[in-house]
């Protein structure tokens, strides 16, 4: 035993580290906003409304409002703020997949796992045949993704290992379906973002994807993109088993910090909103 040699330590689990990182950043964002901000925002809003009412109620004053002259366009484009209720809601649900569709995708998903894990893979493709499918749903995909729909499923193998797959790709896995991995009532959703910039019809196209795990009580997730010229509808999916996937795309939006934001919100079985967050890119 050489006491000057560092004892070997197993590396921090990558998935766990990712969750902790996102959790830290989210909490840091929440703490950033001082308590007086909503009060000041409300006061500013009331001031703007009062000014507008006064200006509009002045009779015969159509010679050009001074306020209009002072509002010079800013050099940096900013993301527009659109109240959540102002955006329409669009469902991306395309119904349940059949057992054979789910099994075929599960085999491909586990085949994807095997080469990565070498001999230590927790499941083999043939384990899909005896797996218990917990949910298998077709989801409408967005412009830019290249396919019309994709199958999102969760299942457990006979040994109890839990998997979430998107099409033929493994999204995440864990030793047990019951593991909650840091989720609680205060933080009922943990997810991974993927933002892709593309082009369509000569213009920029932003594709935002979000794969997530939730508390079992959460059953619906919605996503919308806000950019410098407006906001997309809320795209929504229904899911079960505390896991899902959703995507949104927006023509004209650019995947650049400060020029786009992605809103996400989640609802429980009673329709109550239990989570919201913003991805700034």
């Amino acid at each position: 035993m050489n006491l000057l040699t560092p004892p070997p330590v197993e590396k921090l689990d990558a998935e766990y580290a990712d969750q902790v990182r996102r959790d830290l950043v989210r909490k840091a964002r929440k703490r950033q906003r001082p308590a007086w901000v909503p009060v000041v925002a409300a006061a500013c809003g009331m001031a703007v409304i009062t000014t507008a009412v006064v200006l509009l109620s002045r009779p015969g004053d159509d010679s050009g409002a001074p306020a209009a002259n002072t509002s010079a366009p800013t050099a940096t484009p900013t993301v527009v703020q659109v109240p959540p209720a102002k955006s329409a809601r669009v469902s991306l649900d395309l119904g349940q997949a059949t057992a054979s569709e789910a099994r075929a995708a599960a085999r491909n998903c586990l085949a994807d796992l095997s080469p990565r894990e070498g001999g230590n893979a927790p499941a083999k493709p043939q384990d899909a045949d005896s797996a218990t499918v917990r949910q298998a749903r077709w989801i409408k995909t967005m412009a830019g993704s290249g396919v019309a729909k994709i199958l999102m499923q969760t299942f457990t193998t006979a040994k109890g290992y839990w998997f979430q797959c998107l099409g033929d790709d493994l999204v995440r896995s864990r030793p047990s379906a019951d593991s909650r991995g840091g989720l609680n009532v205060a933080d009922p959703v943990l997810g991974d973002w993927r933002l892709q910039q593309g082009t369509e019809a000569g213009g920029p196209l932003l594709l935002a994807e979000y794969s997530f795990v939730t508390l079992p009580s959460v059953v619906r997730m919605e996503l919308r993109i806000r950019w410098t010229a407006g906001a997309s509808p809320w795209y929504g999916v229904t899911f079960s088993d505390g896991a899902g996937y959703i995507a949104a795309s927006q023509l004209g939006a650019v995947a650049k910090r400060g020029e786009m934001e992605v809103d996400v919100r989640a609802f429980d079985t009673t329709g109550k909103q239990v989570f919201s967050d913003v991805e700034y890119g």
Binding site: T5, P6, P7, V9, E10, L12
Partner: protein, 198 residues
């Protein structure tokens, strides 16, 4: 659709810790995420070796980065020293571990007065590997226990966490000469320790 770029929603990696440090001084939450990505592994290894427990280390990692963020939001810690945030983070981790060690000692005393719980072994391979690792670390720490606490900490920081003497001095809040002296004394004692623990 022609993809021009594809990435995860993470901030661009700062070239140096100094850039990251400046972003933290501006209280940019994403910089905290980047700091975590860079140093969570280092803090985790330090905490595991310090406590001999992976569970305690997981808690310590989270607490360290939460406290790190608090320090930036509470007051400006000034410019980065040593070109690396590692010594600064390990200093926070060390304080955190000291506090939790005291709390755990109180909890252990409380539990020792309670009825023994039912034994519930966990046979998962991952858990077994961690248990083996914890046993090894605890054996090494038991051997090191013959050293005074301040020499033990110096060994942990310089040899195990691979800090420079200057960085270890900053973490411990002592002069560089003190660190050198502690290392020298510990090395004199260590051959005997190695013999006793063979």
């Amino acid at each position: 659709m022609a993809m021009t770029s594809s990435r995860r929603s993470q901030p661009p990696a700062a070239a140096r810790d100094g850039d990251l440090w400046d972003a933290l001084r501006r209280a940019e939450p994403e910089a905290l995420g980047e700091l975590f990505s860079r140093y969570a592994g280092v803090v985790h290894a330090f905490a595991v070796r310090h406590t001999g427990s992976y569970a305690s280390a997981d808690d310590a990692v989270q607490a360290t980065f939460i406290n790190a963020w608090r320090q930036f939001t509470r007051s400006d810690p000034g410019p980065l020293r040593y070109d690396s945030a590692r010594p600064w983070l390990l200093a926070i981790a060390r304080n955190e571990l000291r506090n939790t060690t005291r709390a755990r000692r109180r909890l252990t005393q409380f539990l020792s007065r309670q009825p023994a719980p039912l034994h519930q072994p966990d046979h998962a391979e991952a858990v077994a590997a961690r248990v083996d690792s914890e046993k090894h670390i605890q054996a090494v720490r038991a051997a090191l226990a013959a050293l005074p606490v301040h020499e033990r900490e110096t060994i942990e920081l310089v040899y195990w966490a691979e800090l420079s003497v200057a960085e270890a001095a900053a973490v411990l809040g002592v002069a560089e000469g003190t660190v050198k002296a502690r290392l020298s004394r510990a090395r004199h004692r260590l051959p005997a320790l190695l013999e006793e623990n063979r």
